[in-house]
């Protein structure tokens, strides 16, 4: 493979880890000399400082800043280090970028993103319709655009229930006041809609894969969560192989003609024994590097699909019984790393309004020795 430059986002590996750092590890495992750019929103994204991290890191404006700000910054980075492939890893980024394939093509940057319609159909608020089309069970769901209908929704769904934002965040609540408070918070944080979902109890399963855009799954790996954090994050999981689960995921990906990485989240309902679809995420999960340690490198497969249109050989299935446990360690940074992030080539970006506002708070904390470095 010629020397490629691959840009990856989502390098945070803290309490709520993002997939980018795992993608970089997987890519390095396949192609150690690949040139990898980390595109970050915050100098405190821990993957910046990992030993096997990116070769270069550049600050980006948050997706909420809009397309113009994103491309203004991307063009600057692209002029310093031409990007061949961009792998966005965050839901909010993908929602922003999904309509912009032509913009990327014009710049010579390859992306592998779903169609806008597919992305929309798998959104939490639209999941019941998709599930009906695929004959898949979903929790009873009510979509709210404000809090006026909270009481009616609670009456329809019963308690307890989950209150979810459109992209991130889910809170389990036990009474109407809790629903109201959680919905108000999420509307302020992420905007409408807020999704209320009946709680389903049972073991949780996640399926990671890559859709080829024609309804086929290039490769997939299924796990059952064995350790769940109080935020519902899988801190440990074990590989499973279940034809029922494979068929169900196949139906969803076929219906969506999904292009790109995905993670399907399901619960096997203790009451009915059947799988219930909870979410479809339009990206790799944070545990993306786990299968690559078993010989199934999903990030490398994604690159192959982007470059060649297919993978050169079928990925071996992950063996049931293999498991991961998330292991957090400290990585070392230095204030000079902050300097490195602006550097000579990035000076223009630092004086631009958006990167400056991102950069400034972290600098202030480091300068102030009384701060322990906690950030909001």
């Amino acid at each position: 493979m010629k020397q490629l430059c691959v840009a990856v986002t989502g390098l945070q590996r803290g309490e709520n880890p993002q997939p980018g750092a795992g993608i970089i590890r997987s890519l390095r495992r396949a192609w150690p000399s690949l040139h990898i750019l980390g595109l970050v929103y915050d100098v405190m994204e821990s993957g910046i400082y990992a030993e096997d991290g990116p070769d270069e890191v550049h600050l980006m404006p948050y997706p909420s800043s809009g397309v113009a700000a994103f491309f203004e910054r991307l063009d600057a980075v692209h002029s310093w280090c031409p990007i061949d492939i961009l792998i966005p890893t965050l839901d909010a980024e993908i929602a922003l970028l999904v309509n912009l394939r032509q913009e990327f093509a014009r710049r010579g940057i390859q992306v592998f993103l779903p169609e806008a319609n597919s992305l929309q159909r798998r959104a939490k608020q639209n999941l019941p319709e998709l599930a009906e089309a695929c004959d898949v069970a979903v929790p009873k769901t009510v979509v709210l655009h404000d809090t006026a209908r909270t009481h009616q929704a609670v009456a329809d769904l019963g308690m307890p229930l989950l209150v979810k934002g459109p992209y991130y965040d889910a809170q389990l609540v036990y009474n109407t006041a809790g629903v109201h408070a959680a919905a108000t918070h999420l509307l302020a944080e992420w905007g409408a809609p807020v999704i209320l979902q009946q709680r389903v109890t049972g073991p949780e399963f996640n399926v990671m894969g890559i859709g080829d855009g024609m309804g086929n799954i290039v490769a997939q790996c299924s796990v059952r969560k064995t350790i769940v954090s109080d935020k519902g994050k899988g801190l440990g999981a074990i590989v499973v192989r279940d034809e029922t689960l494979d068929r169900l995921c196949g139906k969803l990906i076929r219906e969506l003609c999904w292009r790109g990485p995905f993670e399907i989240e399901l619960i096997r309902d203790t009451a009915s024994g059947g799988y219930v679809l909870i979410e479809i995420n339009p990206r790799f999960p944070a545990w993306v590097d786990f299968p690559s340690m078993l010989g199934s490198n999903f990030a490398a497969a994604l690159l192959e699909v982007i470059l060649e249109g297919h993978i050169s050989r079928a990925m071996p299935p992950c063996r049931p019984g293999a498991f991961f446990v998330r292991h957090q360690i400290e990585v070392v940074g230095d204030v000079s790393n902050y300097g490195g992030l602006i550097g000579d080539v990035d000076i223009d970006a630092v004086i631009a309004p958006q990167p400056l506002s991102l950069f400034q708070p972290a600098c202030d904390e480091v300068v102030d020795s009384s701060s322990t470095g906690t950030r909001s």
Partner: protein, 83 residues
């Protein structure tokens, strides 16, 4: 025998993995051997004979323990419920 029992993978130390659900079980004492016998198609009578021939146990005790054991396997859907 159920498909769950058929698919069960048992290692040398008595750890059984259900590859469909990812659940793991620890088989203690002669349970490992009994489960393997069931996977090979043994009946309850065969298991009873095995216990009586291989262990210093009277038939009433062996029958009682085996019933308890098989009931547990029924709960796990490893064997069909006794008719």
């Amino acid at each position: 025998m159920t498909s769950t029992l058929q698919n069960l993978r048992i290692d040398g130390r008595g750890i059984a993995l259900d590859p469909v659900t990812g659940e793991t079980f620890r088989l203690v004492g002669c349970a490992t051997h009994l489960v393997r016998m069931l996977q090979d198609g043994a009946t309850a009578d065969t298991l009873l004979r095995h216990l009586l021939e291989g262990y210093d146990v009277d038939e009433a005790t062996a029958r009682r323990d085996l019933d308890t054991f098989l009931s547990r396997l029924e709960q796990l859907n490893w064997v069909e419920a006794a008719s």
